[in-house]
Structure formats: C-alpha cells, structure tokens
C-alpha cells in the first residue's frame, strides 16, 4: 500500500486510467468491475476507501461498487500473503489427490483454509475448478498455474518461493506477468 492511501490519493492515481476503461462501455456502471481490478492490482486489496474513490470517479452510487466487490470472489477485501496458493478442490482435482495435497499444505504451513502464514508469504485458499482438469491436481499461485502436482512438487515449489526474493507475481502490466511453466498448458489428447 502506498503512503498516499486515501480517497483523494486513489482518485489522483486512478481517475485517468479508469476514465480510459470507461470508454469501452456505453454506461459508467459497466466500468466498475475493471475499476475494482485496477484498484486491487494497485493497492493489494479493496476497502471502503477504494469503493468511495471508485464511486466518485465513475459518478455512481457507492452501493453499486460495494455490491460487486462483495459478490465476485476474485475481489479481496483483506490483505493476503505475497503468494496466494489457490488449490483446486473440485471433483476432477479431488479425484487426483487434491485433498491430500491440501492437508499437506496445511501441515507444512501450519495454517488453515483462508489463513495467511505468519511470515506473510503464503495464503492458503481452496478454489473451484480453474480449468486445468487434464493435468490435475492444479493450483494457481497468484496468476500462475502449477499442474500435475504431488507433495514433492508442492514442497519444491514452496521452497523456491520461500527462498526467492521475488517481486509479487501479480503485476499491473500483463506483459510482466509470469508465464505458466512450459508443459503446463492444457494438453491435446494422445492417440488411442
């Protein structure tokens, strides 16, 4: 969070880019969702200060902003760890051992679902299907997919993330976003 975090600070920083986004739509209301994303990417999470700033920038009632921020699960209303571990636990991943992996993550990190590790590095989340069912079990670390996971691979990954003094994987500029590792794309099926 920047030092200038206040309604006026947000308006100063985001009014121009949000106005730009709003040009894609015939109504200001349509720009609330992208505006929320922009504020979240900039400040890490969303709160009433951000809702008020967005409502002023777009000249819409604050309730319109709040009702979207509370309805859609990808908007975060509290600060989370540097790495958001989002393990898919829906049926295709569950059938491939996601539950055992989740238990392993809980034990290793010493935290429960939705909690953040004491060092502030990891938040553990169980999510619904993320569209990686052929390479299950799958987990997103911030925006990056990790697939065909086993306890060993998860341990390796957490070791790497713990050791690396890296920038957060979510960047404002999509071009700086970490690409999925090679081999993590959905696969074309084999010939029978």
């Amino acid at each position: 969070m920047t030092a200038a975090y206040s309604k006026q600070g947000i308006i100063a920083e985001l009014a121009a880019p949000i106005a730009d986004i709003a040009k894609c739509y015939p109504t200001q209301r349509s720009a609330i969702m992208p505006a929320l994303y922009l504020a979240q990417e900039t400040y890490g999470f969303l709160d009433e200060t951000a809702y008020r700033a967005i409502s002023e920038i777009l000249d819409v009632p604050e309730i319109w902003v709040f009702e979207l921020a509370s309805f859609y699960t990808l908007y975060k209303n509290k600060n989370i760890g540097k790495y958001n571990l989002q393990l898919c636990t829906n049926v295709p991943c569950m059938l491939r051992g996601a539950y055992d992996l989740f238990a392993h993550l809980q034990t290793r990190l010493g935290i429960n679902k939705g909690e953040t590790s004491k060092d502030g590095l990891f938040t553990l989340t169980a999510v619904e299907c993320i569209g990686s069912c052929d390479v299950a079990p799958a987990m997103m670390v911030n925006d990056t997919y990790h697939t065909n996971l086993s306890k060993e691979r998860v341990d390796q990954l957490l070791d790497q993330l713990s050791q690396a003094d890296m920038e957060p994987l979510t960047g404002k500029d999509p071009s700086t976003r970490t690409q999925p590792l090679a081999g993590n794309e959905p696969s074309a099926g084999k010939e029978p």
Partner: protein
C-alpha cells in the same frame, strides 16, 4: 476422424501470431464473407451447417442469430462467452491460449451476421494467459484492418472489448453474463424476453461460446459441406471433448459427436486408473453421471437426453472404483451451493441444505430418512429454480442417489467414514 481441425495448429510455437494465422488461411473466410455475403446469407450458411452451440445447451447457432431483429435502428451486441467454469471443462482456454485469432475471426463474422458494431468477450478472471493472448490478437487484428472502421475495405465496422470476469460460475449463464457486463451482480434474468430481442443494455444481443465461434471461422474457411460431413446429421462438426478424472490419458480430444461414452473413456481415455470405472459424468459437473452399465450411450444430444443426462460442455469426468460416490455427491452439492447467486430461494436454500445433509452422512452421522429428505430437496430445487444452475445441480445429485443409493446406505447404516473425508479442506 482423420484430420484435426480445431486442434490442428495449437502445438505450433507460432500459432498465436497473426502472420502464421494468415499464412494458414486465416481471415480468408472473413474477407470472403465481407465481399460476397449479405448478413442474411451468413445466417443462412450457418443454419445450413446445422452448427449447434458448444457451450452447454446445444442451441442451433444460425437460428439464434436469426432471432435478432433486422433494420430496427437499435444497436446490436455480440458477446463471446469465455467464462468457462463448468467443472471438468478446459477446452475454451486451450483455444484462446493457442488459437486466439480463430476466435476473433469467428466473432467478426458473427457480428457481421447480426449487424453488431460492438462486441465483448467475457473471459473468466482466472484465465490470465487467455486474456493476454486474446488481447494481443485483438491488437494485431486492428493493426491489419480486421477490426475497427471499414474492415478489409468493406463498409462494416466493429470494435471488440475484453470484459474480465471475477470468479462467479453463474456468469456463464447468458443473462447473468450480460448483467455482469452492465456492471451488476451476475444474477440471471427472466426469459422471455430473450437476449436476441432485449439483451445487453436492453438491445438485441447474441451470446455465443468460444468453441462455437471458432467453428464459425472454420466453416467459412472450409465450407459447409466439410462441416456437415463430420459426425451425426443433427449435430455435425468437430467437437472438443475434455477427458479428466480417474482415467489413464486425460486431455482434450477433437472428435465427432456420436461416439459412445465407452469408446471415449476406454479407447481414448485408456481405461480406468484403478480396477474398473464406476460411472462417467458426460458433460461437466451438472450433467448426471452414467453408471458403467450405461456407457454404450452415444455422445450426442438426443441419446444422452434419453439416458437422463446431457451433452453439456462435453467435459467427461471418469470415476473409478476408488471413488466414493457420496463424496462426489457432497462435492457437487457444495460446489453449486457455493456458486448459487442467491436470487431464488429453492437453489440458494435447497442446495445449502443438501450440502449439510451430505456432509453429515459422509462424516458418519447419517440418519434414517436422510436419503428421502435429499430426494424431496432435489425435487424442490429441480422443479422450482429460476435458472439452469439449480436444475443441473439437483439433476446431477439425483443421479448419484439413483445409481448408487447402496453406497449412501452403507455410510448411513455402518457409519464408516471414507478415507478421503479425513483430509477434507
């Protein structure tokens, strides 16, 4: 099917580049459409192709386009539904990540057919790479004059914008998707009026799935005859089947419709991971499971409907003998309860109750009468839900009770807890 079409280019390293796409015939279909076809002729061509939607409902695409009023003076909108969220489904992600120009070309042709000058592609928020690839493809298409004003020298103009979803399964339902673009919570609206008459911002709107629009581009590149020669007469063309769960070779397979579920999971899927299959879910998590004895059912709309299931998104999830059906049932109820938008009470409350009862049964606290209670709840949700979410959820849940009541009974009477339950998140 000998030749792959939808998947033909996806493994090529340059498949997302516009130069590569053009070199392999890309945007030729569009150019021909804009120079030789009237919008009505485009609609007629798609009608003749018998293309049916690849999102889940299987509605005839040409017919859907034809419902858009002509010469009404209103703005028309095209929306591409890329909010792929049905558990087990991952085909649209592959198309957007590896063949994004196909989707864009399909969108431009569809927009021309319904005379839309503004189109949105609604991509789920988790699909970061899809958003990036589609975004780059849109930029490249503008640079080559395939988007913007006077496309390829014609009088047709079109702008395409990406709207990024934010984690709501229900936004895959078309009216909820439109609400979401309007900046509202994703809650379905009553139909009629259908979107083709009153959709986005109250204007005539068509919502098509990613794979459907990719098929549109291929039809104009290769011709209707090529398309109708593949698969059954009432549901022709290639289709992407996503195989996952307890089988040997999970992945995306491009095949005609009409193969049996058995051929899919044994022939292509390579058979069960352990022992024998118990059941297979043929079309995403909201499609009722088909037990082993029913696997000879043909994978097309009519035969699956006759088998009390559905084609859905062609996401095939296999369950083998290590799978506890009550655990799958509980997970189905939990998922749909979590994703219920809260608009109507039967779905919001009923799925929550079902999920609580199933959790209790699974943890060894089942009571006599629980299964009857579940049947009553499922019936209530099935018959009274506002949209297809509650219907699909209760339908899928009922199938687990219908085919595997003995597994539930065993849990209730013996009160043994499945191994997997102990490590539940």
């Amino acid at each position: 099917m000998s030749e792959l079409v939808l998947l033909k280019h996806i493994t090529h390293p340059d498949s997302t580049d516009i130069e590569y796409y053009e070199k392999n015939g890309g945007y030729q279909g569009l150019k021909q459409v804009l120079s030789d076809y009237s919008p009505d002729q485009v609609i007629e061509t798609i009608k003749t192709s018998s293309l049916r939607g690849r999102g889940g409902a299987g509605f005839p695409t040409g017919l859907k386009w034809s419902f858009v009023p002509k010469g009404d003076g209103k703005i028309h909108y095209l929306c591409c539904n890329a909010d792929e969220g049905e558990p087990g489904t991952f085909k649209d992600r592959l198309l957007m990540e590896r063949d994004p120009h196909r989707v864009i070309e399909g969108m431009i042709i569809a927009a021309y057919a319904i005379q839309s000058q503004v189109a949105y592609i609604y991509i789920r928020g988790e699909y970061g790479l899809s958003i990036e690839q589609i975004s780059q493809a849109i930029k490249a298409a503008y640079a080559r004059g395939y988007l913007g004003k006077n496309i390829s020298g014609s009088s047709f103009c079109l702008d395409i914008y990406i709207h990024k979803g934010a984690g709501a399964y229900i936004c895959g339902e078309e009216t909820a998707l439109l609400e979401s673009i309007e900046g509202k919570r994703g809650q379905p609206k009553l139909k009629p009026p259908f979107p083709a008459v009153s959709g986005l911002y109250g204007c005539p709107t068509v919502v098509n799935n990613v794979e459907t629009l990719a098929c549109v581009a291929h039809i104009f590149a290769r011709g209707v005859d090529w398309f109708t020669a593949i698969g059954p007469e009432d549901a022709p063309g290639p289709r992407l089947f996503g195989l996952s769960g307890r089988l040997q070779n999970p992945g995306i397979y491009e095949l005609p419709m009409g193969l049996s579920l058995r051929e899919l999971v044994f022939g292509y899927g390579g058979g069960p991971l352990t022992g024998q299959f118990k059941a297979v879910i043929p079309g995403g998590l909201s499609a009722p499971m088909v037990p082993l004895a029913g696997l000879d059912v043909k994978m097309n709309f009519a035969d699956l409907a006759a088998a009390d299931s559905m084609m859905g998104s062609a996401a095939v999830i296999a369950l083998d003998e290590t799978t506890s059906i009550p655990t799958v049932g509980r997970r189905i109820a939990e998922f749909f309860s979590h994703e219920s938008c809260g608009k109507c009470a039967p779905c919001r409350e009923g799925l929550h109750w079902a999920s609580k009862i199933l959790n209790r049964i699974e943890s060894g606290q089942g009571r006599p009468g629980d299964l009857e209670q579940l049947q009553v709840i499922c019936g209530g949700v099935f018959n009274n839900s506002f949209c297809a979410l509650g219907v699909g959820a209760s339908w899928a849940l009922r199938a687990t009770l219908k085919h595997f009541s003995h597994e539930y009974d065993a849990l209730i009477t013996q009160q043994t807890i499945p191994v997997r339950d102990r490590t539940r998140p």
